[in-house]
């Protein structure tokens, strides 16, 4: 609702639009620039890391190739000296260990799998059986050099790998200390919060810039980039771990199947981007303030004439037609001001004419009311005063007939009866006129009326016994109304249906339907119906469809009904065709006048 009020104000709507126009481009430009920067910097870091990973993989490979060559040299030397010349072989192996210190030990194994020589010398190992080891079985079967899986050396506590080469008689076993891998990864010149690690074929770190990862033998096989690298696929990745985002590059060390992983905390790597984001945010904020100031100034300039116009229009609306628009700043506003003046003059002149007409109308209305009142008074007095001589005529004719009984013939008697009946008709006409004139003048009592009960009472009163059948429809309402008025309306409609029926048997059907603001009642009969050209007459005063000599009627009943209904705010109409019966329908407002 508040937003509705806010945006319905032209001033507020213009302010909002001004700000949106000023801010939206800045926000959009900031957003897309930051995104482009983010992508570009991330790409650069990933490319750099990938170069580092490839370089470390190559160094690791070189290290293993070197170890392989040294072991080959040791094997060739042992074969050349001869395995039986143990003293010289021992000396030779110790010389190799001294020159290539990454080997923890080199052992010579005989054909039975027994350690027969070892450098550096260690009596705990001489004579030991190595037939339980996997590499013994493998090299014994294949007669090919073999690398073991990595393990933590019980002697040095360092990750170690065993390199085994077959001899003509037995084999040579060299334990290569992989501590050198930590030195290799230390060459990685990674950015802040970056690291480099070497992973063995089981997914365990055997070299790392953070030595703790090696000591703890951290296994990272669960990460997809590790799985891919162990399957020989190098690549670049973005990895979320413990809520932090990392840029990862993986390279493969061939042919041993190890992997080199170079990682970078994306948040740290993109710290320069964070600065740029802050600058953009500050810029956007300043732009917002400037836009607000400019918007308020411009709006003041644009809205001031409009506000003046609104104020002056309110004055004109209050009747001060001499007030001008007061807009002269711009050409368009000057035209508007002139038109405003013309409009005010036109309104002033029309108002004067209206007031003159109102005065005339008031005089006419007053005269009309006086005429109506006099007419009503006349109708009332006339009908009331006319009733007395009529009553005298009827009484006197009665007395005359009684006094002249036996002296007058039948013809004279008939004339006297005719005289009384005409006088009675005259009286009924007078009563009708009186009732008609009273409608709307008498304060009617409003009460709760049960229409079903009312109709039953009317039918009972009219003594409409069979052969006429009167059917009251369902759902007759109980309404607030003047009971007498409704009695007159229904009574007139029902008695008309009975009186004007052309057959000995008949059916009258009364229904009610509830509409939104009123009830709709209908009284339908199966009588002779009313021809279309006569339907306009039935609601007119003193109009009868048949001569009064043929059918006794005052012609006031339906006029009374119509006036009663209209006086309550309802309406009445009829539907009929000659010979098809007639239906009188009227509406009665739910809200009582």
């Amino acid at each position: 609702m508040m937003m509705n009020r806010f945006t319905k104000s032209l001033k507020n709507a213009l302010t909002l639009n001004f700000i949106l126009i000023a801010i939206l481009p800045i926000l959009l430009i900031s957003f897309f620039t930051l995104k482009l920067l983010n992508d570009k910097i991330s790409q650069q870091i990933i490319e750099k890391n990938h170069i580092v990973a490839d370089s470390l993989a190559a160094e690791t490979q070189d290290f293993l190739i070197m170890a392989d060559r040294v072991s080959q040299q040791a094997a060739d030397g042992v074969e050349y000296i001869g395995i039986d010349n143990q003293e010289l072989v021992q000396h030779y192996l110790e010389l190799i260990i001294k020159n290539f210190s990454d080997f923890n030990s080199i052992q010579v194994i005989d054909e039975q799998g027994i350690v027969i020589m070892m450098a550096p010398a260690n009596s705990d190992y001489i004579g030991n059986s190595i037939v339980g080891s996997r590499y013994y079985k493998k090299v014994g079967d294949t007669k090919q050099p073999s690398w073991s899986t990595t393990f933590l050396s019980p002697m040095t506590g360092q990750p170690t790998i065993t390199l085994v080469r077959p001899l003509q008689q037995g084999m040579i076993v060299a334990n290569l200390n992989l501590g050198a891998l930590n030195r290799i990864v230390a060459h990685a010149n990674t950015l802040a919060d970056g690291w480099a690690g070497i992973i063995d074929t089981e997914g365990t770190y055997i070299g790392h810039t953070m030595i703790g990862e090696v000591n703890r033998q951290t296994n990272v096989r669960q990460f997809d980039y590790v799985k891919n690298a162990l399957n020989g696929k190098s690549g670049n990745y973005q990895q979320v771990d413990n809520g932090a985002n990392y840029l990862i590059s993986a390279a493969v060390v061939k042919p041993i199947g190890w992997s080199v992983i170079v990682g970078q905390n994306a948040d740290s790597a993109l710290v320069s981007l964070q600065t740029a984001r802050s600058i953009f945010m500050m810029g956007a904020f300043i732009a917002l303030i400037v836009a607000l100031i400019v918007a308020i100034w411009l709006l003041g300039k644009i809205l001031q004439p409009l506000l003046t116009l609104v104020k002056n229009m309110q004055a004109v609306a209050a009747g001060k037609y001499q007030v001008t628009a007061g807009l002269e700043d711009y050409e368009e506003l000057t035209v508007l001001s002139q038109n405003f003046g013309h409009m005010a003059e036109a309104v002033a002149s029309r108002e004067k004419a209206l007031k003159d007409n109102e005065a005339k109308l008031e005089i006419s209305l007053r005269n009309l009311e006086i005429s109506n009142r006099e007419l009503d008074q006349f109708a009332y007095v006339a009908s009331h005063d006319l009733k007395a001589p009529l009553r005298a005529i009827m009484n006197l004719s009665q007395w005359l007939e009684e006094d002249l009984a036996g002296c007058i013939d039948e013809s004279a008697k008939e004339k006297l009866v005719l005289l009384r009946s005409r006088a009675l008709r005259m009286e009924n006409l007078i009563i009708g006129v009186l009732e008609y004139s009273r409608i709307g003048k008498v304060k009617n009592k409003i009460e709760l009326v049960d229409i079903q009960q009312l109709l039953e009472d009317i039918i009972d009163d009219l003594s409409c016994t069979p052969p006429f059948r009167i059917v009251i429809g369902p759902c007759m309402p109980i309404i607030m109304a003047n009971r007498i008025q409704l009695w007159q309306i229904f009574s007139n409609l029902i008695s008309n249906a009975v009186k004007h029926h052309d057959k000995q048997e008949g059916l009258i059907h009364i229904t009610a339907a509830e509409q939104e603001d009123f009830y709709e009642f209908s009284v339908a009969d199966d009588g002779p119906g009313i021809a279309a050209e006569q339907q306009q007459k039935v609601f007119q005063m003193f109009q009868t469809l048949r001569p009064r000599d043929q059918f006794e009627s005052t012609g006031i009943g339906l006029a009374l009904v119509k006036k009663s209904i209209q006086q309550q705010g309802g309406s009445i109409w009829m539907q009929s065709e000659q010979g098809q019966g007639a239906t009188f329908i009227f509406t009665w407002p739910k809200r009582v006048n």
């Binding site: 339980g132 703890r216 096989r221």
Partner: protein
């Protein structure tokens, strides 16, 4: 204007939705692990941690504990009392619901006063592999998954006597002093009771400068009929190599500590016939264990050892308890009330002291593998 109004309405709804999402985000349940992650005992420590990690990852993949995910916090106790104590205090300060560990008796014994003190805030410690009798049989905040050693040492002593060995020598590694001394003492007591005689005990400390060969030469002079090795797999294998080299004819027995793949790898022919007493029968096909081995290999690229298996079981018991009642202070009572848990080698039962009861099997190395010995022979 209507569009602006709608946009504002959507933004307000979005803000409310995001706020609610933030409010409704469930906190993680932290589980601590403390074991030797570096040094000579790191094979047990790392394997135990891997076992626990596997159980945690499996639980998180299956909607966690009542929708709350588990975070595993690992600490290195370096098989050292001071380190162990410091690790446990750090874990309690970090708000863990339970500590799984330690993996060696030395570290567990050192941590015990703290775990049973109010400073530990009632946190339960569940050790996968601690067997020392110093920590079993008491109703405290320390549970074990591996069964107490008393039954194992008694069964081993009984078997040693059964095969006719009357004079035994014992060699043990002081690097895991509490376990080693306890196994030695328990075995000795049971062996004495059965009429056996301990003719010599020799200690060494792995990782220090000493000669395995000299140790065995000294014992060889006593001419024992049998030798009991209480050491880790590689050390026990090295000792077996020396026994063969010095020409001793003694039968070799080992504590369960040495029953690892490294023992077979490093021992070669010298470990053939070495007898163990262990609560796991390697010849049985345990479906749960086979599934565990498969998943462990997929996850870590190698076969699990006993420490990994008991670590996995310990995590399983703890997670099952927390699923029944997430209040860490009620975990001890919850586990004791549930009592029976599905293990890797069949169901196991906690007694009121929080110790697990399991059968013990006599095993020996035959053709480079651990195989069941028919104890009825």
């Amino acid at each position: 204007m209507g569009k602006i109004r709608n946009l504002s309405f959507v933004m307000v709804l979005l803000w409310i939705a995001l706020s609610l999402t933030g409010c409704l985000t469930k906190k993680v349940i932290k589980i601590g692990y403390s074991g030797p992650l570096t040094g000579r005992f790191s094979d047990i420590g790392l394997s135990g941690q891997n076992g626990v990690l596997l159980a945690v990852e499996e639980t998180n993949e299956n909607n966690g504990i009542g929708g709350r995910s588990i975070e595993l916090i690992g600490k290195d106790d370096n098989n050292n009392g001071e380190f162990a104590l410091a690790a446990d205090k750090e874990l309690v300060d970090e708000g863990v619901a339970v500590i799984i560990g330690h993996m060696t008796s030395a570290a567990s014994v050192a941590a015990m006063p703290f775990i049973n003190s109010p400073d530990a805030k009632g946190i339960l410690m569940v050790s996968p592999t601690t067997r020392t009798s110093k920590l079993t049989g008491s109703e405290d905040n320390f549970f074990t998954i591996i069964p107490p050693m008393n039954a194992a040492t008694a069964a081993q002593a009984k078997y040693v006597r059964k095969v006719g060995v009357r004079r035994m020598a014992i060699v043990y590694d002081l690097a895991n002093r509490d376990f080693a001394e306890d196994w030695s003492a328990n075995f000795s007591a049971a062996y004495h009771a059965l009429g056996g005689e301990i003719i010599g005990i020799r200690q060494f400390t792995s990782g220090t400068n000493f000669s395995y060969l000299e140790v065995m030469r000294e014992l060889g002079k006593m001419h024992p009929e049998g030798i009991l090795l209480i050491a880790g797999g590689i050390d026990a294998a090295m000792l077996c190599q020396q026994i063969q080299k010095v020409g001793m004819q003694a039968k070799i027995f080992s504590s369960s500590w040495g029953m690892t793949d490294d023992f077979l790898q490093s021992g070669g022919a010298a470990v053939e016939g070495v007898v163990f007493c262990n609560p796991v029968n390697p010849e049985n096909n345990y479906p749960n264990y086979e599934k565990f081995v498969k998943r462990y290999q997929e996850r870590f690229g190698k076969k699990p050892n006993f420490a990994a298996a008991y670590g996995y079981e310990a995590a399983g018991a703890v997670i099952a308890g927390l699923k029944l009642n997430a209040d860490p202070r009620q975990l001890k009572q919850t586990i004791l009330a549930k009592k029976v848990f599905p293990g890797l080698w069949g169901q196991y039962t906690f007694n009121t002291s929080g110790d697990v009861q399991r059968d013990n099997y006599i095993l020996s190395v035959q053709d480079g593998k651990f195989k069941l010995v028919n104890d009825d022979e």
